[in-house]
């Protein structure tokens, strides 16, 4: 819906649609508000990943200082990813209500003390508590995806989500290289080992604080302004928590994606925690080599998750939403098959090769998932993103508890069984059906439109007040999800 007299082409550095969301994604630009927000969000998410997984590479020193047992270490690893389950849900709600800028800056600042205080850890219990609290910061994933979905148009939303998510996840790999380096520098400066690891945690803590400042002062929630401004001026109404929550919880697609995300991202987190030890124990490589292999798994996120997002947008051009769903199912299932294989191969070279190909597929599946999530709901985008993100962490906790705790299964058997579970749980994607676009197995319902789907999230009285205007615009812009057989053209202003 246009307001007559507005000069769209001159207002934004990038081409935008009727909601002022960017229809192009220029990676090497930092133009406000779109690309600047992109860089702020992936950088802050990156620092949160660095903080959450800062302990594993230093464990050989920490376990001696705090007298940790293998059980203590395993529990702390599970604690690090379990906090984010509920934090991601809460973050989704906060994004819907307060906007991603304030929500993510607040979370990053609120978890920074946990990182700084890691230097005070004196026992296995305090270590576990600190990893648990630090892990809450992984909820910035939700604000990242929400922010990208708010600023980028359907034709590039998969790419924006994929690159932001992937480059953030990179932190999990980068930390395996950063923390040992910082530790070595501090030891070189004369500190003892048991002091050096404590001092090293100030680096991730400072990075977090700086990125929070960046988000607050340089970021903007929506193309037209921040939530608080727009709510005050009346352009955006302040939504009700109950309505957003019930809309999300009653949408079965959110639950399905939460389950399947648990078997791509959850698997990724599990591998982050167990793979260094696996290579160390099975193939007798030294700890540094095992750490490097573990790091390379995380570093594949540089291109594999963005690749998944771009692939989602690419197939959507021709095949629309049905293409996105089919590609997600295929890529995630292949990931499952490779996981089964990883547990079966016997030689070091084959294992590393399978691991790398597996990492590409499982991370691409994560990117492909968030090519679908922005379309599940417009009103409850935050909570749906939070549910899916939280589902990822639930998957990580469940998988580690069932297969990688105690001595019930050897690690190889655990990995193979995890692969079987991936294949089985991914099948439910077949049940996702959008009336206006169809699903994997069934075509769209006759006469269903995007407006029917998105505007129905608002009640009649709310529609009378005009609260649904943004959803109307989104409906028009998402018509391209029908695929190339559709004649309708998106409203693009270049």
């Amino acid at each position: 819906m246009e307001i007559p007299g507005e000069e769209y082409p001159k207002r934004f550095p990038l081409a935008v649609d009727s909601e002022h969301k960017a229809t192009e994604f220029r990676l090497f630009s930092a133009a406000p508000p779109h690309m600047r927000a992109f860089h702020l969000s992936w950088l802050s998410f990156f620092t949160c990943f660095v903080s959450t997984f800062a302990a594993p590479p230093l464990l050989p020193v920490i376990r001696d200082d705090l007298d940790l047992t293998a059980t203590d270490i395993g529990n702390a690893g599970i604690a690090a990813v379990s906090g984010a389950v509920f934090a991601r849900l809460a973050m989704g709600t906060c994004c819907d209500l307060f906007g991603p800028r304030l929500a993510s800056a607040a979370l990053v600042l609120a978890t920074a003390p946990a990182v700084f205080c890691t230097s005070l850890a004196a026992s296995p219990a305090s270590f576990l508590a600190l990893r648990f609290l630090t892990g809450f910061s992984l909820a910035t994933f939700v604000s990242t995806q929400f922010w990208m979905s708010s600023l980028f148009s359907p034709n590039v939303v998969g790419t924006a989500n994929g690159v932001a998510g992937g480059w953030g996840n990179l932190g999990g790999g980068a930390t395996q290289l950063i923390m040992p380096l910082v530790f070595d520098l501090i030891v070189l400066a004369g500190a003892g080992k048991f002091t050096a690891w404590r001092a090293a945690f100030f680096i991730p803590g400072l990075l977090q604080t700086v990125s929070a400042y960046g988000i607050f002062f340089l970021g903007q929630d929506l193309p037209d302004g921040d939530y608080s401004q727009l709510q005050k001026s009346g352009e955006k109404h302040k939504d009700s928590f109950d309505k957003i929550l019930s809309g999300a919880v009653t949408n079965y697609r959110g639950w399905i994606l939460a389950l399947t995300y648990g078997y791509c991202f959850g698997v990724e987190l599990t591998i982050d925690n167990i793979i260094a030890q696996y290579f160390y124990d099975k193939f007798d490589v030294n700890l540094h080599t095992a750490g490097t292999i573990a790091a390379s798994f995380g570093l594949a996120n540089l291109f594999s998750r963005p690749g998944g997002g771009m692939l989602s947008d690419f197939v959507a051009r021709r095949f629309g939403m049905r293409g996105r769903l089919w590609t997600l199912w295929v890529v995630q299932t292949v990931g499952g098959v490779l996981c089964v294989l990883l547990g079966k191969v016997g030689s070091l070279a084959a294992s590393v090769a399978v691991l790398l190909v597996f990492s590409v597929f499982v991370q691409a599946a994560c990117g492909l998932t968030f090519g679908v999530v922005p379309f599940v709901s417009r009103r409850s985008l935050g909570i749906i993103s939070g549910m899916t993100g939280g589902g990822g962490n639930v998957g990580a906790v469940l998988t580690q508890v069932i297969f990688f705790r105690g001595s019930r299964y050897t690690t190889e058997t655990g990995i193979t069984l995890m692969g079987v579970m991936i294949i089985a749980c991914t099948l439910v994607i077949m049940l996702i059906h959008f009336p206006q676009w169809g699903g994997m197995l069934w075509p769209p319902s006759d006469g269903a439109t995007e407006e029917d789907y998105y505007v129905s999230e608002w009640t009649a009285p709310e529609q009378d007040k005009g609260f649904h205007k943004a959803s109307l615009k989104f409906s028009q812009n998402s018509r391209r999800e029908r695929g190339q057989s559709v004649i309708a053209s998106p409203n693009t202003y270049a």
């Binding site: 600042l109 003390p113 080992k193 002091t195």
Partner: protein
């Protein structure tokens, strides 16, 4: 006759395997006598307390058994209680893979007479229960004999080390300050955002 032949052949094969195989702990003879100053159950402070060690050859063995001994290396080793649920300290028979003894105390050339050494427990020794073991190495650096302060089951004469925490007052204060700064910033952000919203109306 046939069984004798089989026995000889199998003995010969196992000898062959033993010489080509890596050194194992079970193949070593306990020919060294090693004593350490800590009493059973004593707690030593890392970085402060000393251990006085004395080692010599056990004369009850045939003379000439020490002909291959070139160096003595003395190690601080983890007692079973400190190895429990800690795979990175596991005892494995193959010495190259054994992780029982991770802290070297001293390495000295071998003499058959009594040798003593006083060692200050290093600052980076973790808090755990320990015993002391000495390996005799040949000219190729391979273990050929050992001696230890505890019995074969590693249950007697164990002592503890109390490690430094690594915490410093300056680090504690820095943590508190940075944490407080983060929280104050957070409150500042909320306040500023509310003010900005009010003024934009």
């Amino acid at each position: 006759m046939a069984t004798n032949a089989c026995l000889v052949v199998s003995l010969w094969i196992s000898c062959l395997l033993a010489t080509t195989h890596a050194a194992t702990f079970s193949s070593l003879q306990r020919t060294l006598v090693l004593t350490a100053s800590p009493q059973a159950g004593q707690v030593l402070k890392a970085g402060e307390d000393n251990i006085t060690l004395a080692w010599s050859l056990n004369t009850t063995f045939a003379s000439g058994i020490d002909s291959t001994y070139k160096t003595i290396t003395v190690e601080l080793c983890y007692a079973p209680i400190s190895q429990k649920d800690r795979g990175w300290r596991k005892t494995v028979d193959e010495l190259a893979k054994d992780k029982t003894c991770q802290h070297n105390i001293v390495k000295k050339p071998y003499t058959s007479s009594n040798t003593t050494f006083t060692w200050t427990v290093r600052k980076d020794v973790p808090g755990a229960t320990y015993f002391v073991r000495a390996y005799a190495l040949d000219s190729a650096g391979k273990e050929v004999a050992f001696g230890q302060t505890t019995d074969a089951h590693k249950t007697t004469n164990l002592f503890e080390v109390e490690a430094i925490t690594g915490r410093h007052v300056s680090l504690d204060i820095a943590s508190a300050c940075f944490s407080a700064f983060s929280i104050v910033s957070l409150l500042g952000f909320f306040f500023m955002d509310k003010r900005k919203a009010k003024s934009s109306k």
